[in-house]
Amino acid sequence: MPYSPQEQHNLDFCTRMYHEMLFTFDASRVDEFIHPDYIQHSTAASGGREGLRAFFADRAGRFPDVKMTIKGAFADGDYTIFQIHTIRHEGDPGMAIADIFRMEDGKVREHWEVLQEIPASLPHENGMY
């Protein structure tokens, strides 16, 4: 379905945010992508821009070989939704992540997240994605 210019912009912006900041734990890019009044709902990070910078500093130290992939990307108005697969080290079945972002003033204003460890074997042959 065709996106509105705003939705296409939001999808492109968030995709770039993954590659340039979230996948590289690059705390120096936070102000570029994240709204000053950022509302964080993730259970993995504390609030605001500062909480996100602290999260990146922690993860960059603990998971230097992490590999993250975008498996799905969707848009609805101010909202974008992403399916992410995070592999922390070789042989890791990984973590499934669903991210929901709400955009405001051209930056990410609010974030919700659900995280789940992927079991080593699934009860079907369809894969997680």
């Binding site: 659900v114 992927i118 079991p119 079907h124």
Partner: protein, 136 residues
């Protein structure tokens, strides 16, 4: 039902797809009614959830088990979003009053009027998160 605020007009297809998934939550998951499954989901729908087997048979079994063991179960929808044939639902599942439950994002693909594919991610609500804000 908690659709997100609507910054644009949805297409007719999107309205129909949202209504289908709203109906799934109301008439199947929250009604805990295995007999209503076939009105919403194709029998051979592709299951990606790591906690469910393929097809509607296992889903119907699960609903019967929930109805027997946890008849007060709720799927409390916090927000629903639509993108063409894809519908995303962020909700708080609880098995009994006072249950902390779990957060989930379900993603549905709709084809020819019914759900044809399903992905989900679920996370138990646990005390002691680094973040004092609600996950919702």
């Amino acid at each position: 039902m908690a659709r997100i605020h609507r910054p644009r007009n949805y297409t007719t297809e999107e309205e129909v797809n949202l209504a289908l998934v709203e109906g799934l939550f109301e008439n199947v998951l929250n009604a805990i009614d295995d007999e209503a499954v076939d009105f919403y989901i194709w029998p051979d729908y592709i299951q990606h959830s790591p906690s469910a087997r393929q097809g509607t048979g296992p889903l119907k079994e699960l609903l019967r088990r929930i109805k027997r063991d946890h008849p007060q179960s709720v799927h409390d929808v916090k927000r629903m979003m639509v993108d063409g044939d894809m519908v995303m639902v962020h909700y708080h599942a609880r098995r009994w009053p006072g249950d902390k439950g779990w957060a989930a994002v379900d993603i549905y693909r709709i084809e020819n009027g019914l759900i044809a594919e399903h992905w989900d991610v679920v996370q138990d609500i646990q005390p002691g998160s680094i973040n004092p804000l609600s996950p919702f």
